[in-house]
């Protein structure tokens, strides 16, 4: 369980740092907003938001670093530690290492469910897919978005659906093909003739 704790904190460390970077970029971008003579200039609000993102990201980083060195002591001082805090005071069936900050990753909540036993309301987090698979799915999606207008809705959609379903269930290619073509045609007809949303005709048009 100690291992998953550090994994979760490493995740927070990365998340927090990313938020700080976004905040800095966002804050710098406010410099190019033209200033006016109003009390609240157009740049005031964006600047507040940028600073807030930097601060909150930094807090997250600090939390993860503090919790890593002294997991048990750091917990009560941190704001949102429902589970950790609860398990500490109750001190009964649960160990302090169930979760880091109340938002569990897949592995931890499974651990948590077993050790929390009957007292807990624990919903197992959904399983995490492999990053490579996620990247592939996103890549296909972006290809689809890119070709939708030039190639047209019918062809690109049928191809996209065929691609996705065939990666998932290659053995059922006939069903996949029928689904891809029928779905594309039905949606096209429904939107163009039913809802008057004109989808790109592309090379067929």
């Amino acid at each position: 369980m100690a291992r998953s704790l550090t994994a979760a904190h490493r995740r927070d460390l990365i998340t927090g740092s990313a938020i700080v970077v976004i905040g800095v970029v966002y804050f710098i971008a406010t410099f190019s907003i033209q200033r006016t003579n109003d009390i609240v200039t157009p740049a005031t609000f964006p600047a507040i938001v940028g600073v807030a993102l930097i601060v909150l990201g930094a807090v997250l980083v600090a939390q993860s670093l503090l919790a890593r060195s002294t997991p048990a002591e750091a917990a009560p001082g941190l704001p949102a530690t429902d589970v950790t805090a609860a398990s500490e005071t109750s001190g009964s069936t649960t160990s302090a290492g169930i979760t880091d900050d109340g938002t569990t990753s897949a592995g931890e909540s499974v651990d948590g469910a077993s050790s929390a036993g009957e007292t807990g309301v624990i919903i197992a987090a959904p399983p995490e897919p492999k990053s490579k698979q996620v990247a592939l799915q996103f890549a296909l999606f972006f290809v689809y978005l890119a070709i939708l207008i030039p190639v047209g809705f019918l062809l690109s959609t049928a191809a996209f659906l065929m691609g996705l379903t065939s990666i998932y269930a290659p053995d059922r290619w006939i069903r996949n093909l029928v689904f891809s073509v029928v779905f594309a045609v039905v949606v096209y007809v429904a939107f163009v003739y039913g809802l008057a949303v004109y989808l790109p005709a592309g090379i067929l048009g």
Binding site: S90, E128, A146, F160, A169, V197
Partner: protein
């Protein structure tokens, strides 16, 4: 009395064939989409908003309200039979209802959920009917200061009351604000945060952002997971719906859940999900059969489901009467109002009173339709659970793409959809909840506008926040709102009840 007259007129409109048809269609469509595993009310509305683009405002709004509570009910079917909550609010049902289903009592679990939802939903709409006009009168003394405060409260509560890390929920709020500020400043017309990209000066479309966050990560995740680990769908036999004993054991939780859910729902920034958890804890605490909880106690389904649906009605109160959404889902509805050029709040009750009362009346009808349609049709909905995942989620990707295309008609809009999809996926991976950012995005223009007006009137001083009586009362309530969850946490801790759930 005026209220009853208005409501009567509302019914006259809502009972016209077209309105009635849209209410029924919404409820049915909502249930169907809500049943689909992994799709909760937020995703359902986000995906279906583009459908309402070409509609008359009243019909579009009636349809989407129907979709909202239809999908809540659909979600409880999914939670009960395959333990996949579409949203946090049905997470408790995924425990208690699923356990009941495993014991062959799926029908009873669904019946107590449906009847509880109907009763609680109707009570909440009655509450909405009579509380909204009162709030509207109160709101006439509200100025920029009060509105700014209320919206800030909504955002703050949305982050303190959510589960998990409050820092992360706040990050989500500020991400929503950051995205919302991109584009031309509406007061001076100056471009802001566009990073030199002129296409960004129109701002980020709300629907694109919502669809990207609430449909794409879930779809991609499921597609990338691939086959294997098939969910077990619980059998749905021909046992009795509800025995006398079940009725007896359900009625208390229904009543308590309704009241609790409505009150929590009315608070700005607190959606129905907290209501269902609070109800579960309460039922467990007062139950004589504590050991049954976690093993299929009917009270653990009846109470939370009632609270959940009462919360929906409660959340409509601040939305309709003040124009301030209490949750991500009502934020979507607020967006739909503004899309039609309507601004919920005191004005809408004066100027568009026919419209608003017709919507409220349609909710009564929709609630009845839910129970009339859904219990007999539940066998049909269950078949939807068997829909192959790859077909479902690839179809959803196509539907959101059409939605984004219908908004921008450009490659740029499509790319924004994809990029925010990636961003949403990374947010989820980092444990940052998505819902608060939607709420923040929809509130940005109002929040900033009132912030500016407040300071312009006072000449740059924040003092009016404390000197105006109404504003001061809100501040006091706001402080209570921050203290209350701490007390609740302490109380939960004492009860040794663990709560932990992940936003799915």
């Amino acid at each position: 009395m005026d209220t009853l007259v208005d409501l009567g007129n509302g019914f006259a409109t809502a009972l016209q064939p077209a309105s009635l048809a849209f209410a029924l269609l919404g409820v049915l469509l909502g249930t169907v989409v809500g049943v689909l595993p992994g799709i909760g009310p937020i995703s359902a509305i986000a995906i279906l908003i583009p459908v309402s683009f070409g509609m008359e405002p009243m019909h579009g709004l009636i349809l989407l309200c129907g979709i909202y509570y239809g999908s809540m009910y659909g979600g409880s079917i999914t939670a009960t039979l395959i333990k996949t909550p579409g949203e946090v609010s049905s997470a408790v049902t995924a425990i208690e209802g699923y356990e009941m289903a495993r014991k062959g009592r799926a029908k009873t679990a669904l019946a107590t959920a449906a009847i509880g939802s109907f009763l609680a939903g109707t009570l909440a709409i009655i509450g909405l009917t009579f509380l909204s006009p009162l709030l509207v009168q109160l709101a006439t003394v509200f100025g920029a200061t009060e509105y700014f405060l209320l919206m800030a409260t909504a955002l703050l509560l949305a982050s303190t009351m959510s589960s998990g890390s409050r820092v992360k929920a706040l990050i989500s709020v500020f991400i929503g604000l950051a995205v919302g500020l991109i584009g031309l400043d509406f007061q001076t017309g100056l471009p802001r945060q566009t990073f030199g990209i002129s296409l960004l000066s129109d701002g980020i479309d709300f629907t694109i952002f919502a669809m990207a966050l609430f449909a794409i990560p879930e779809a991609i995740r499921n597609l990338a997971l691939g086959r294997g680990g098939k969910e077990e769908i619980q059998r749905f036999g021909d046992e009795k719906w509800m025995t006398k004993e079940d009725w007896k054991r359900s009625s208390g939780p229904w009543a308590r859940g309704s009241v609790l859910g409505f009150i929590i729902g009315v608070l700005p920034g607190v959606g129905p999900s907290l209501a269902s958890f609070m109800s579960y804890i309460m039922e467990k605490r007062i139950s004589k059969r504590k050991d049954e909880f976690g093993h299929g106690a009917i009270e653990g389904v009846a109470g939370p489901e009632a609270a959940n649906n009462a919360g929906v009605g409660g959340a409509m109160v601040p939305l309709f009467s003040l124009g301030i959404p209490g949750s991500a889902t009502t934020a979507l509805l607020l967006f739909v109002f503004t899309m039609y050029g309507l601004q919920p709040g005191p004005l809408i009750f004066r100027e568009e009173s026919g419209l608003i009362w017709a919507i409220i009346a349609s909710m009564y009808i929709g609630n009845i339709a839910l129970i009339v349609l859904n219990l007999p049709l539940v066998g049909v909905f269950v078949k939807l659970l068997k829909m192959p995942k790859e077909l479902l989620f690839s179809a959803i990707l196509v539907l959101v793409t059409i939605g984004a295309y219908a908004i921008e008609f450009s490659l740029f809009g499509l790319m924004l959809l994809g990029l925010f999809g990636v961003f949403g996926y990374l947010m989820e991976k980092g444990g940052i909840p998505l819902a608060p950012s939607i709420l923040a995005l929809v509130l940005v223009p109002l929040l900033e506008d009132n912030f500016r007006r407040m300071l312009q009137i006072s000449g740059g001083s924040f003092l009016p926040l404390l000197t105006r009586p109404v504003s001061l009362s809100i501040i006091i309530l706001m402080l209570l709102g921050i203290i209350a969850p701490i007390v609740v946490r302490w109380w939960i801790r004492r009860r040794q009840i663990l709560m932990d759930f992940t936003v799915v």
